[in-house]
Symmetry: C2
Subunit: 211 residues, 2 copies
Amino acid sequence: MRERYAEELRKLNCSIVSMGKMIEIAIQSSVLALMGRDRDAAAQVSKNDDAINAMERDIESQCMRLLLHEQPMATDLRMITAALKMITDMERIGDHAVDIADLVLSIPDCTYGRMCEIEEMSSEIIGMFDDAIQSYIGKDYNKAKNVIARDDVIDELYHSIKKDLVERIRQTDDGETILDYLLIAKYIERIGDHATNIAGWVVFALTGERE
Amino acid sequence: MRERYAEELRKLNCSIVSMGKMIEIAIQSSVLALMGRDRDAAAQVSKNDDAINAMERDIESQCMRLLLHEQPMATDLRMITAALKMITDMERIGDHAVDIADLVLSIPDCTYGRMCEIEEMSSEIIGMFDDAIQSYIGKDYNKAKNVIARDDVIDELYHSIKKDLVERIRQTDDGETILDYLLIAKYIERIGDHATNIAGWVVFALTGERE
């Protein structure tokens, strides 16, 4: 009985890691599509989103089964509850990757000079997301807290891009396309928020305290 | 047996109408909060979102029960499947109302002259959303098709606002706050997309054809 329970918990962890990988690929592909102006890659992100949504449902069922049939206690109970909440944030990150990919498909060719800042922001959020998932799997409190602290860096980068975009709109004739880059930066910033939420759930799972 | 089934279908419709009302209030409150710069109203939208999410789960369970236990056929089967898909779009509309309310809380006081256009856009999407829900309840094909046709109006309004924002950024010192209005217009435009999706599901329920 307990063996089956341990096995199911292991399976839940594997599923979370898999879903995490799928989402990481979605973010990376949407950013690469943006950098390389690759329409095929962008279209692929939307197609893969169905698999991410299906994965969320699957993990949700696993959590429900564990909660209802195994009646877990203390940390286990909180780990499963946290998983149930985390997957909503994970799924939303997938949606924002699709939002970015959709914009790549609609933006006319245009070179926005501060691409490197958007790239920096996206590397940062991919790192945060990866660490948030790892902190769950490794039950690593410090790693989770570190993710939460890094959200300020993302906010700063977002505001710097925002300020720069205003300048660029004043200097160029193609202001409307520039505005689309604001939306992209905003989606990346929101991905950072969701990664921070995930880390917050890990802290809850490990300590019982909500940030 | 059949009586209980009919009763459950009626209950499903009532739940969809209730969830629709909750979402309509969320959109209206977030737009009113924006117009009146009412921070309390904006904060309330976020709080009410949990109830909308819970309602989505409840309707999902109702649909699942009907699908698994009653084995509905033809139009009934499609109506229930459509409900299952529609509630995802409905829940996302609720999220965008929260997105708007969150921006109201973060935007410093600033008078953006084209508020009336944002108000026009939001009246239009509230009407579309209301009609989409009504078309489901009344099994009204023409009403659903009409919602889908109106999405172009929203897109035009969005592009007009976007063009205007570029101009305003060039003329004002407070360009960054102006950018937040772009995000608001974008969220409203996305609400229009989701209302259109809902109407698309109604067309599917009634005809078996996906738009």
